[in-house]
């Protein structure tokens, strides 16, 4: 499972490793679902270590995004490297997903929506 870090009662941070692909996408889905089950409206995904993102990895985030948004929260990506941004851009996801430059901005975004 991915390392998580509670920010406050509404927000939690999930840290990715170097890869988010077929080998661990199901674990990401499980981590995000677990956070939602625990009542966290906002989930920040820290991608500072992420070097490789496959379609399965993208799917693991999109698959649970609706639930967060339906509950008035969001899934916020931060520290996204240019190459990963490029992949998200190719899929027309840069405007669809909430992407912040760093963790501080991501936290501020979540706090403002609480």
């Amino acid at each position: 499972m991915f390392r998580t870090e509670k920010v406050n009662e509404h927000t939690i941070i999930v840290h990715t490793g170097k890869h988010l692909d077929n080998s661990n996408a199901h674990e990401m889905t499980a981590s995000l679902s677990e956070a939602q089950d625990a009542g966290f409206k906002h989930i920040i995904i820290d991608m500072s270590e992420l070097e490789f993102l496959s379609s399965a990895g993208v799917g693991s985030i999109l698959g649970v995004l609706g639930r967060s948004r339906d509950n008035g929260g969001d899934i916020v990506l931060c520290h996204v490297r240019d190459r990963i941004l490029h992949i998200l851009d190719v899929l027309d996801l840069c405007d669809f997903l909430t992407i912040k430059q760093d963790e501080q901005q991501a936290r501020a975004f979540c706090l403002a929506r609480d």
Binding site: N22, S23, F52, S55, V58, G66, R69, V90, L93, F96
Partner: protein
């Protein structure tokens, strides 16, 4: 330890080199060598990443086999181990059997001033990842700009995993791959003997809004592939072979690529 009918012994190299595992390995080797076999196969399939401890273990095993007059051969050598052996100039000191688990790599002159890469790998995730590492190193050697190389690696991964998912291949079936630079472009070719599957016939209708509503995230991989390359063709050859060929411009980064 596995013994086949020809009295050929195969011993698995442990990943974790705690005292018990190392003792167990050499204990097995000792028992095998008492039988004075012609050859002993050392199975390295679990060594995705080799440490100096693994190299020491292999070297000691090699010495023991030499002393007993048995030939030691390394089988199922992963790319990570092969790379370490080459870096340490030890590659030629071991006899490596390139069996079916092994991903074969060649760089040949194409006659057009470039080199090509040819790989054959099993349709299992460890072998796909192994082949991806080889492809990555090939692109680095070729001097392909970083962003374009990253796109190509994503394309490789998505095509290979798509084949694995849709062609009904078993984990032991082989996917043949070649990458051939041609002037300003690179051509990637995948061939497999699975069920017919034409990725170009799939209608791409990936819409993130629909995807999160339906929780259906199918089609992301094909969308990535089609948008990251300049062309993709599919042929069914002799009713037995799927051949997918993709090309990508090396400078412009494909239809949706970015400049470095």
């Amino acid at each position: 330890m596995h013994v086949d009918t020809n009295k050929c012994y195969k011993i698995l190299v442990p990943v974790d080199l705690d005292e018990g595992a190392v003792e167990g390995f050499f204990g097995e080797l000792e028992i095998v060598l008492e039988d004075q076999p012609e050859e002993v196969l050392i199975d390295c399939s679990h060594l995705d990443h080799a440490t100096s401890g693994h190299i020491d273990l292999l070297w000691e095993a090699q010495t023991k086999c030499d002393e007993s007059g048995s030939a030691m051969r390394l089988v199922s050598v992963r790319y990570g181990l092969e790379r370490v052996l080459r870096v340490l100039d030890l590659y030629d000191l071991f006899t490596i059997v390139h069996d079916h688990v092994e991903v074969g790599a060649e760089a040949d002159e194409t006659g057009q001033g470039g080199v090509s890469l040819e790989l054959e790998f099993k349709a299992s995730m460890p072998d796909i990842n192994d082949a991806l590492s080889r492809f990555h190193d090939f692109l680095v050697r070729l001097g392909v700009p970083g962003t374009v190389a990253f796109d190509l690696e994503i394309v490789f991964y998505e095509v290979a995993t798509n084949i694995r998912r849709h062609s009904g291949l078993t984990e032991t079936d082989v996917i043949a791959f070649s990458a051939t630079p041609e002037q300003e472009k690179i051509s990637l070719r995948f061939a497999d003997s699975g069920e017919p599957f034409d990725p170009t016939s799939a209608t791409i209708d990936f819409d993130p809004r629909k995807a999160i509503k339906s929780k259906q995230t199918n089609g992301i991989g094909l969308t990535m592939i089609q948008r990251l390359v300049d062309s993709m063709t599919y042929r069914r050859v002799g009713n037995s072979l799927n051949v997918v060929t993709l090309t990508k411009h090396l400078r412009q980064g494909g239809k949706r690529g970015v400049q470095d």
